[in-house]
Every structure is written in C-alpha cells, then in structure tokens.
Amino acid sequence: AQTVTQSQPEMSVQEAETVTLSCTYDTSENNYYLFWYKQPPSRQMILVIRQEAYKQQNATENRFSVNFQKAAKSFSLKISDSQLGDTAMYFCAFMKGRSGGGADGLTFGKGTHLIIQP
C-alpha cells in the first residue's frame, strides 16, 4: 500500500512571494505518477501539475514547478509569484502506473491549506 504525507497543515505567505509545499510518499512501486491538486472553497478539484516517475526532469506549469526526488520519495510544489487566487487546499496524490493507464485510485495526502495574504 502507498502512503502520502503532507507535513504542513497550513501555510500563509504574502502575495508575490514564493512558497514551497512539501510532500513525501512511500511505495514499493517503480512505475507511478504523482500529482498536485488544488481545491478552492468551491470544492472543485483542479489538477495543478503532474509528474511521471520515470521522468527525471521536474515538471513545470507556468508559476508552478515541482522538485521530484525519486530516491528520497519527495515531491514538493513550488509556487512562484503567488496570487490571491492561489488560496486553496493543496493535495499531493499518488497513482500506480499500469499498462493502459492507472487502474487504481489516487492516494491523497491530508492536504495543506495555503493562504495568500494581500
């Protein structure tokens, strides 16, 4: 079984600052995917960024980037130039890789509540 740990229940930063959310995971799988999801008060889970475990290069999506350390089983999210709209719960998630796409559900961390202060 997989576990995902997010050790920061809440973080608060000023607008325009850079913030890093941490995530560690434990698995015996070699083929898997890692995700960061954002959940604003509307409840809608929105994919922020995805990382395939077989890729060494860290994923980047505009202001969002990850630091993926496979040996250390670490997957942190960096948000640059933070904006008020970034305020939300952020969940780190793990999915096993199978042929034809992941057949198992996502395993989520407990989440980090990120607050961007004006």
Partner: protein, 114 residues
C-alpha cells in the same frame, strides 16, 4: 459533456434512509472513480469502474455502500441505512483518452446525515 457532473450538489437525509448519488463522467471516458472526503479521514478512494465492471471495490467502507455503472457512462453510488459517519463530500472522477493518466473531478455531492 464538457466536464464531470454530479447530482445532487447537496443532500440532507435522516439517519437510516437510503441515498443515491449520481455521477456523469466526461463523454468517452472509460474509467470512473468515487472518492469520499471527510474531515476526519481526508480523501479516501472508494471504488473504480473500467467500463461497466468494477475491478476494484476495495475502498467501500461497508456493505451498506454499493455502486453501479450502466452503459459505460453514468454511475450511481448508493448508501443504504445512512449513518451520521457517512456525512462527507462524495467526489467522482473520470479518466480516458487522450490524457489516460489524469483524473478529472466533478464538483462533489455534500451529504449530511442528521
């Protein structure tokens, strides 16, 4: 449709009643997932469908929970004899071509059991 839809958005029921929650996945997506989000347990995987079959029911918390999917599209999650601990947000997600390794979530159904 353009995205995953769920109904109802909110459901309030009395302890002991049965409830049905509906999920309409993105058109063409073959995989469908149900999750439960509660304050105490966080986000938990409940069940996964590939087409109409459910190869993984390992997350269903008790035999009061069941789910079906017909026509490879709409899915219904049924909770029988609801208990107060069933109060949670139930999220549905679907996955398919062309982004096979990404799950797209619906807005969820907030269930409150009085």
């Amino acid at each position: 449709g353009a995205g995953v839809s769920q109904s109802p958005s909110n459901k309030v029921t009395e302890k002991g009643k049965d409830v049905e929650l509906r999920c309409d996945p993105i058109s063409g997506h073959t995989a469908l997932y149900w999750y439960r989000q509660s304050l105490g347990q966080g986000l938990e995987f409940l069940i996964y469908f590939q087409g109409n079959s459910a190869p993984d029911k390992s997350g269903l918390p008790s035999d009061r929970f069941s789910a079906e999917r017909t026509g490879g599209s709409v899915s219904t999650l049924t909770i029988q004899r609801t208990q107060q601990e069933d109060s949670a947000v139930y999220l549905c997600a679907s996955r398919g071509w062309p982004t096979y390794n990404e799950q797209f979530f619906g807005p969820g159904t907030r269930l409150t059991v009085l």
